[in-house]
């Protein structure tokens, strides 16, 4: 018979451990914040220079000197960072190695330019410069700005990914690694000698992890929102529900790792084996749009993919719960499977 006071006792003790381990707790909050801040600095802001265009002959590579080298016809184009090269050979070499997206020779019109056929950005910047030189194209671009809705910055797209990644690491390591350590040092054996059941113990571990992740997520969210001003198109409640369900499925996955074994090294290896592919294949950092079919199939089998898909739909596209029902159903399914496997494999003993 399940006893809530026993579960509560374990829940509280695990929470104490988490909040009192100041180094781990601090790092749990700081790490995702640092990543987001780092990306915001690298890619953020309105002054972002998406494309790099080389100009020759120009004595200075960058800085204010370069402004004098840029042909007046194209100097007002935004999103282009100009880099000067003293000779054509040097410019061509950089172009060949994708250091610049396009190379222009200073001089009288018509301007001569070189593009690397294998560089996708080269094509875009070529069209952009052609557009800038054509008044009619300029009109079209202006119209597009007028009809477009709130732009989704890269940081808006990345933020849920970083949060999801943080949940994944915290859920997997906070349950998987910690329980293996408890088994190794005899804490589990001591608890087995009490009336506490495996179900009560594992439920308390899971609930504690859900709680601490929800807590750190809230702090992180508020902190990042104050600095980067995130906009959530959908409902915060829907967002919290998707985070919670995703959190549950990842914590259940942690329980499978926690179910057996006493080797922290092996548990660490197993956690890396699960978490690293999940990080790269769940669209944390980049979209898998256009990736080979097998890659997207593997991605579909990972709970983090569905968590991020649901969160981004709500945050960026204003989706409601009904619009993310597939993601929620898949995450609930994962949770049930992981819980059943974890509970059936669980052993207190070494």
């Amino acid at each position: 018979m399940m006893n809530f006071s026993r579960m509560w006792a374990i829940f509280v003790s695990r929470n104490r451990e988490f909040f009192r381990d100041k180094a781990a707790f601090g790092w749990n909050l700081l790490f995702p914040f640092l990543i987001i801040a780092g990306f915001a600095i690298i890619f953020g802001g309105d002054e972002r220079k998406e494309f790099k265009v080389g100009v020759f002959p120009c004595p200075s590579t960058q800085g204010t000197e370069i402004d004098r080298c840029v042909p007046p016809q194209i100097e007002l184009i935004k999103q282009v960072q100009y880099i000067g090269f003293p000779t054509q050979a040097e410019g061509i070499n950089k172009l060949k190695h994708h250091k610049v997206d396009l190379l222009i020779e200073r001089g009288k019109a018509p301007l001569h330019y070189w593009v690397n056929d294998t560089a996708p950005k080269g094509y875009v910047v070529e069209k952009m410069i052609q557009g800038a030189l054509n008044q009619r194209t300029d009109d079209v671009m202006v119209r597009q700005e007028v009809v477009s809705t709130r732009p989704i910055r890269y940081i808006d797209w990345l933020f849920p990914g970083i949060i999801g990644m943080n949940i994944m690491f915290s859920a997997l390591y906070g349950v998987g690694f910690v329980v293996v350590r408890y088994r190794k040092n005899g804490v589990l054996k001591r608890l087995k000698a009490t009336p506490l059941t495996a179900f009560e113990y594992l439920s308390a571990q899971m609930l504690s992890r859900l709680f601490v992740i929800a807590f750190s997520l809230t702090i992180l969210w508020i902190g990042c929102d104050l600095i980067f001003d995130f906009h959530v198109e959908g409902s915060y409640i829907d967002l919290a529900i998707v985070f919670m369900v995703g959190n549950l499925s990842l914590t259940s996955l942690g329980l499978i790792i926690a179910s057996r074994g006493t080797s922290e090294e092996f548990a660490n290896g197993l956690l890396n084996f699960i978490s690293w592919p999940m990080m790269f294949l769940s669209e944390v950092w980049f979209s898998l749009e256009g990736a080979p079919r097998w890659v997207t199939m593997v991605s579909e089998m990972l709970p983090l993919t569905h968590l991020l898909s649901g969160v981004r739909k709500i945050m960026n596209d204003g989706a409601a719960l009904v619009d993310v029902q597939v993601e929620l159903a898949v995450l609930c399914g994962f949770t049930l499977v992981f819980l059943s496997v974890g509970a059936s494999l669980f052993s207190w003993n070494k």
Binding site: W8, A9, E17, D21, G186, A193, P195, N349
Partner: protein, 296 residues
């Protein structure tokens, strides 16, 4: 009327692959005593005790608690002090006690337990900031938290200094006076002789002797020995009517009747100033039974 033993083992064996840790063992522990389990490392003590505690399952055989097979409520009735256990991290001594208290239906009053186990000074200290002796007393308090009928103490004073060991023994004596049954494993013969009412000596998965420590010593050893420096016997004084053997400058004389032996020695004019008396211990019992030292 014969009292039902508090715990019984009936034909219990435990196999680990080809190794037999416990070999078809029968055991019966009466209620209210301190029962000691002695044996060298690898004798099967910990395996046996962990099977009785229901931590591991026997390969064959069964255990009975108060005449009935072990049930889920067994864990409410027992308290265990393991030999090697880490405690929950980042918790104070008091919080650890209250966490474990919440795991049981019936429990000791924490304040009383703190007094009994001398934990008052360290109640607010974190578990990892206390000394070895304090840690053993905390582990004992955790084992007592549910007011168990049956208490298991696995090497309770290992690693403690003599003062801390005496301290631990005093607490165990007080628990005994409350009528609890204690099952204790130890490497220390002195501890077993001091605390235990019945001692079982294990070797190679079997119990090879069992009884009160004094009774075992009487049954399996040849009694007390007097040890004298060889020169104390002097010239012409060595013609004793006592059996003796000489080892490294010392003469050892086994004696049945100490008074008669001393009278004989004094009558021969032997100086007894440097005499020492060797009493047989449970170590001697094990040595005589197996030909090996307990700590081999």
């Amino acid at each position: 009327m014969v009292k039902t033993p508090i715990i019984e083992a009936i034909g219990v064996s435990k196999q680990y692959g080809l190794v037999t840790a416990v070999d078809n063992l029968d055991l019966s522990v009466p209620k209210g005593i301190c029962f000691g389990l002695l044996g060298p490392n690898g004798a099967g003590k910990t395996t046996l005790i962990e099977m009785i505690e229901d931590i591991i399952s026997p390969t064959t055989g069964e255990f009975r608690y108060q005449g009935k097979p072990l049930s889920a409520s067994f864990r409410e009735k027992i308290g265990i002090m393991f030999q090697q256990t880490s405690l929950l991290g980042f918790m104070t001594v008091y919080e650890t006690l209250s966490t474990f208290q919440a795991l049981y239906h019936q429990s000791y009053d924490i304040e009383q337990l703190i007094q009994l186990c001398h934990l008052d000074d360290i109640r607010k200290q974190f578990n990892d900031k206390i000394s070895g002796g304090q840690r053993q007393r905390l582990l004992l308090a955790l084992a007592l938290i549910n007011q168990p009928e049956l208490l298991f103490l696995d090497e309770p004073s290992t690693g403690l200094d003599p003062q801390a060991r005496r301290n631990m023994w005093d607490i165990v004596h007080r628990i005994k006076r409350e009528g609890k049954t204690i099952i204790l494993t130890t490497h220390y013969m002195e501890e077993a002789q001091h605390l235990c009412d019945i001692v079982a000596i294990m070797d190679k998965g079997k119990i090879i002797a069992m009884g009160h420590p004094e009774e075992l010593i009487r049954r399996y050893t040849s009694g007390t020995k007097i040890v004298l420096p060889t020169e104390a016997l002097g010239e012409g004084k060595g013609d004793l009517s006592l059996e003796k053997s000489s080892v490294e400058g010392h003469m050892t004389i086994p004696v049945e009747d100490m008074n008669a032996a001393i009278e004989t020695l004094l009558a021969k004019g032997i100086d007894l100033t440097r005499m020492s008396v060797q009493n047989p211990t449970l170590e001697t019992v094990f040595l005589n039974l197996t030909g090996r030292q307990l700590r081999d």
